[in-house]
């Protein structure tokens, strides 16, 4: 009994220290963001004494195009998440429940494309979007993220777990295949859809490289690109920069905490399915 108790205490101590390491930087960033003194980033203790202020947040919001970036991020993330989830579900359903010519070939090509590292897509994607005259525009930022093979794959796997008899029952009840998808399969896949949606949301909201390349004026930046530009613009105005990082993190954090279950599920379902 005592050995078990000691072990429990030991575990708890390890985990607490770990939590400190994982959360510490964020706590540090929150403290600095409220600081009155631009030079004190080394001694969080002193910051506590040096006085609190909201000035950094007001400055970020009012004097910098932060609100514009936030708006861009919201528009892009919302459009991409909604269309991506819809198309992934539709394609996943098709691959899971319909028979058609070329099915294996198309699916094989999609799986093969997963093996190709994303880095080689960047330059041709840029040239294609440039050819469409969509650089520095919403369509240019949104279109490439409207579909993802991983999501199609996940939705296919989910729909495969639903019985084939459901397809047949729906056919006999007089559904066409779209009604079957929309009225029978979609209402029964909420957990899977939520996991894919949240996964996509997180990826899009945090995406950096593509918006960095596909935008060239500040008013088209997304939050991550805008933040990265602030890092060199504000140099050592750490309190203001930290206020920015906190503002960027809050939406993801809120969504993460509300939908934690689906996040975990999303990671769990992408893992180990090789």
């Amino acid at each position: 009994m005592r050995a078990i108790k000691i072990q429990k205490i030991l575990l708890f101590t390890i985990l607490s220290l770990g939590a400190m390491v994982y959360l510490g930087p964020f706590i540090f960033s929150v403290i600095v963001s409220f600081s009155d003194n631009k030079n004190l980033i080394n001694q969080p203790g002193q910051i506590v004494n040096s006085g609190w202020t909201l000035r950094n947040y007001i400055y970020i919001w009012k004097d910098l195009p932060f609100a514009t970036w936030l708006f861009n991020s919201v528009v892009i993330t919302a459009c991409q998440t909604v269309t991506n989830v819809f198309f992934s579900a539709l394609a996943g359903f098709t691959f899971a429940k319909l028979e058609f010519r070329g099915k294996n070939l198309i699916f094989g090509a999609m799986l093969a494309s997963l093996m190709i590292p994303g880095i080689i897509l960047i330059i041709p994607k840029f040239l294609i979007i440039n050819e469409f005259r969509m650089i520095n525009s919403y369509p240019g930022l949104i279109l490439p993220g409207m579909i993802s093979v991983v999501n199609i794959f996940l939705m296919k796997q989910f729909f495969e777990t639903m019985p084939k008899d459901l397809v047949q029952a729906a056919l006999i009840d007089g559904c066409n295949y779209f009604q079957m998808f929309w009225k029978v399969f979609i209402p029964n896949s909420k957990p899977a859809l939520a996991a894919v949606a949240i996964y996509t949301f997180q990826g899009t909201w945090n995406e950096f490289m593509w918006p960095l390349i596909a935008t060239n004026t500040s008013e088209m930046f997304t939050l991550p690109v805008g933040m990265a530009s602030l890092r060199y613009e504000l140099l050592t105005d750490w309190p203001a920069i930290m206020a920015g990082t906190i503002l960027v993190s809050i939406p993801t954090l809120i969504i993460f905490i509300i939908f934690q279950r689906y996040f975990i599920q999303g990671v769990a379902s992408t893992g180990g399915k090789e």
Partner: protein, 368 residues
Amino acid sequence: MATIEIKNLQKTYPNNHYAIKGIDVSIQEGEFVVLVGPSGCGKSTLLRMIAGLEDISGGDLFFNEKLMNSVHPKDRNIAMVFQNYALYPHMTVYDNMAFGLKLKKMLKAEIYQRVTDAAETLGLTEYLDRLPKEMSGGQRQRVAIGRAIVRKPDVFLFDEPLSNLDAKLRVQMRTEIKTLHRKLKNTMVYVTHDQIEAMAMGDKIVILKDGVVHQTDSPINLFRHPKNKFVAGFIGSPAMNFVSGEIVKEEGLYFVAQGMKFSIPPPLQVSMERYLGKRVDMGFRPEYVYDKGLEKERRLSTDVEIEILVVENVGSESYNHFRLNGMDTIYSYRSSSSNAHIPGEKLTVGIDLERLHFFDVETEESIL
């Protein structure tokens, strides 16, 4: 209500594999027809072809003399009950039953009338607001049947609807479906792998194996006059016993095997003539083996000495398993429990000579 005519129906898959090899069945109006056979025999495929869920590769399918081959499932006026119920998990019992009618754009009042009527029939009235997951297996299957009833279909199709239920409930639902049939008088086609279920339910039974119909007949005829060895062995429980032997001629024809010698019943004497000196398989049902010490009325075979190996007592009767003269095959013999045997017991039995079946070794056809 409808007649169904199946003519030389075939199903092939792209690799030229035949699932259904030219089947003919005709189903009368209001008939309860059971398709039965071991797994992989093509019974479910056949049912799905009737439903329009599988394409027909060859042959014709008629409902009321109308060709149905390329008619969409929803336009065939059929209803189907599935093995795992296939209820829509997100819909209440009411919505599950109403879904097909809504898609047909039927008036709300009419839908309400039909659903509540069906619920009444099936004793589901108080469950109309429940979701499928809140119900037991038996109740779910009732909902699935209700979903079929509200469509007022010409034909009901059942695809192993009872296999997911436990034994007791299965027997109960069997009766309920039969009662429903008597009430609605619809044509019903029912698929099962369980021959007891088939015998209990069917007006007519179609026995399938390897995509071919082996026999179509009433339950009693299947039991009494199986057309071939497969049907003989498939119908009946415990299964028919088979002995391989030879036909010899003395003052009449005799079947000889393992030191046993049975005289061929008079009606078969003529047709057996051509098997003289050849091997045939003889079959006898466990029901027609009698203890020589007790049975005096029937015309029994000569004495067969057996030693009981295992006794399964199922209550009203017991199944006694034994071996014949050092052969590996285990045979069975059904006795009433009042005449219970014990393992190791030696006794003399005889087989009812009126109830012997003989089969051609090559074709496995019944010799009549």
